[in-house]
């Protein structure tokens, strides 16, 4: 197959491009549809038709203008309808070539090639639809081991499957039902409701339903609405997680791990081991009582749509099995070390921080709106929450690793290799100085930018020691101060 001349993608790429455009602007399109549907005038239909025609035409033009070739170990892509873009990706800079397929691609027996480069100015190229053979050819020409075009057996050499982990169906169901992706679900419901609501109101449906209902108190009505919303939100989060993490597999290869997931939309993420910056374990509020958690990693360089490099390494696992998973998959993150807890005098700061604002708001609302006494449960819960945050906060370090556990909503335990730390800080506000407390923060690279792990209100001396012992000098000299008199706790603690 000739890869040295410019080639087009399979024509189906025009369709996937249009579909991607629609999906990217789905909210705008829905809003237009809802507003337009109320007017019912003829020009509106023409506008919709014209819109879709425009989308299709732009998809076709895009396909027509998108050409690529591989020449002397360099991927050259020309694209853009009005502004011509030339993208060169050299072999040495390419870190990952992912071959995967979406619904449309699979229907036509095609694949999608995703090429990612390294570094902070990482660039990525996506070839939407090509036959599998072309994709393999691209991969062979651009991967470092298949240097010469004659090396025919290079295709097989990197297809050697390593150890593969799957997600049992039972665990998938537990993961889906405890995912707690309510935020996303509620926002979807909210936008939908705000769009549908005027339609319902105009069609008198609302009054009809209200007349039908017995004249109960408003509280019951509101309660019922909340329950219905929560149930629907839960179902959305259940099924979206099911689709996202269905067919999950984690594959260990020689120098990279490959995570693939998704039922309709297959997602394949290749992470070279050397790009892993940190590992963290999240115990969600619904999962913690059941003894489950999820394992993520931070990967440097190429981020997702939001530029974040957090990747799900394993979506659901029993707490007591985390250690063995880490040992097998990422042994460099398998550590056990003594952790320091914030001193007991920090408790009131933890509680104050999480409860103060809510307490103030509740008090103001209580006296101005004369709310029911039940509303005091909100600040009471936040006090309890502050106590939980204090209980879960701990930090520990050795010459090679830093472990920080804390809680915002979920409990998060992060394991960081010292050599991967981008910078570390301790800070103290004037109240903290008065109480002789400090906060510590560690930054690691993640995606296009960084990500940080923080612990609040540790003992002042501990903070100073943290900074000093992790400085290069201290590690060279190999001094390891004994951690006496401090409150100790085992970390990571599973």
């Amino acid at each position: 197959m000739m890869m040295f001349e410019f080639r087009r993608q399979h024509p189906i790429a025009a369709l996937t491009r249009s579909v991607n455009l629609i999906r990217g602007n789905i909210v705008t399109i829905l809003v237009f549809l809802f507003i337009g549907a109320q007017s019912e005038s003829f020009p509106f239909l023409i506008m919709i038709g014209a819109g879709f025609a425009l989308l299709l035409i732009s998809g076709v033009l895009d396909w027509w203008r998108f050409v690529f070739r591989v020449e002397e170990g360099e991927m050259h892509i020309k694209s853009g309808i009005l502004v011509r873009k030339n993208l060169y990706l050299t072999k040495d800079r390419i870190q990952v070539i992912d071959i995967s397929s979406g619904v449309i691609q699979r229907f036509f027996g095609l694949v999608k090639v995703d090429i990612q480069t390294a570094g902070s100015t990482s660039r990525a190229a996506m070839i939407e639809a090509v036959p599998l053979e072309t994709a393999k050819e691209i991969k062979r020409l651009l991967s470092n081991n298949g240097a010469s075009p004659e090396a025919g057996d290079a295709i097989q050499s990197d297809e050697k499957p390593g150890k593969v982990y799957g997600l049992p169906n039972k665990d998938l169901l537990i993961a889906a039902s405890t995912s707690g992706r309510f935020g996303i679900a509620l926002s979807i419901l909210g936008t939908l409701f705000s769009q549908v609501e005027p339609v319902i109101r105009e069609s008198n449906l609302f009054e009809y339903v209200i007349n039908l209902l017995p004249t109960e108190t408003d509280a019951v009505m509101i309660g019922a609405i909340i329950v219905v919303f929560v149930v629907i939100a839960w179902m959305i989060s259940f099924f979206s997680t099911l689709l996202m993490y269905g067919d999950f597999s984690l594959e260990l290869n020689e120098d990279e791990l490959v995570i693939s997931r998704g039922i309709f939309e297959k997602k394949r993420i290749t992470v070279p081991y050397k790009r892993i910056q940190a590992l963290f374990v999240t115990e969600g509020i619904l999962r913690q009582p059941l003894g489950y958690c999820s394992v993520h990693i931070h990967s440097a360089g190429y981020g997702d749509e939001q530029g974040s490099g957090a990747i799900v390494l394993y979506p659901l696992i029993r707490r007591d099995k985390v250690n063995s998973l880490i040992k097998e998959v990422t042994p460099q993150y398998h550590v056990e070390l003594p952790g320091l807890k914030p001193p007991t005098r920090a408790i009131r700061r933890y509680i104050f921080r999480s409860a103060f604002v809510l307490l103030l708001i509740t008090a103001v609302l209580y006296y101005t709106l004369s709310l029911s006494n039940w509303f005091w449960l909100v600040p009471a819960l936040s006090v309890w929450w502050g106590w939980q945050k204090y209980k879960d906060a701990a930090i520990g370090w050795t010459k090679t690793h830093v472990v920080i556990s804390n809680r915002t909503l979920s409990k998060k335990t992060a394991i960081i290799q010292r050599g991967r730390i981008q910078d570390l800080s301790v800070s103290a506000s004037w109240i903290q100085r008065f109480r002789q407390l400090q906060s510590a923060e560690v930054y690691v690279a993640s995606g296009d930018h960084g990500s940080s792990f923080t612990i609040e209100d540790i003992e002042e001396q501990d903070g100073e020691r943290f900074l000093n012992e992790l400085s290069h000098q201290a590690v060279l000299e190999g001094e390891d101060a004994e951690k006496d008199q401090a409150v100790l706790t085992p970390l990571p603690g599973w």
Partner: protein, 159 residues
């Protein structure tokens, strides 16, 4: 971090910060004027207006007159072969350690006000964060930039 080798930044930066804050917090002085134009100053409004004016002026003066010298006094930086150490902050005091092997690039920057004072700032970027040492003499800033990038290259070879 070796505290002994830590250096201060140029005291001229106090002036730069004063100008910056004076302009940046100018909106505070506009607040009472806006209040006056909406409510006038009869009865209660007079007292509210007086309190608001006093508060706004106090915060403005705090940021323009009192904080800059304190900030300058707190600012320390230190550089050795392995790390850059930064110590700064008046209300919240922060101490940061940046391993030189993690430094991706170092820039010097000079805005119009800084140029007027003959100063420049050094910006240190890692893959995750960006830090700035403000208000160094332009020449020193340039030397520092070169030193950091040399060290960073050396440290890179180690890893």
């Amino acid at each position: 971090m070796e505290k002994s080798s830590s250096k201060k930044i140029s005291p001229k930066v106090i002036g730069v910060w004063r100008y910056g804050s004076a302009i940046g917090f100018a909106f505070l002085l506009a607040l009472p004027v806006i209040y006056y134009s909406i409510f006038g100053f009869r009865q209660v409004h007079l007292w509210i207006l007086l309190t608001v004016s006093a508060l706004c002026l106090a915060v403005w003066l705090l940021n323009v007159v009192i904080l800059p010298p304190l900030q300058w006094k707190r600012w320390r930086y230190s550089i050795n072969q392995y790390e850059i150490g930064l110590l700064r902050g008046v209300l919240v005091q922060t101490e940061t350690l940046i391993p030189l092997s993690r430094v991706q690039h170092v820039d010097t920057r000079q805005g119009p006000v800084l140029r007027w004072y003959g100063l420049a700032s050094v910006t240190i970027s890692t893959a995750a964060t960006t830090h700035e040492i403000p208000g160094l003499d332009a020449e020193l800033a340039d030397r520092l930039r070169r030193r950091i990038s040399t060290y960073a290259r050396l440290a890179d070879d180690d890893v």
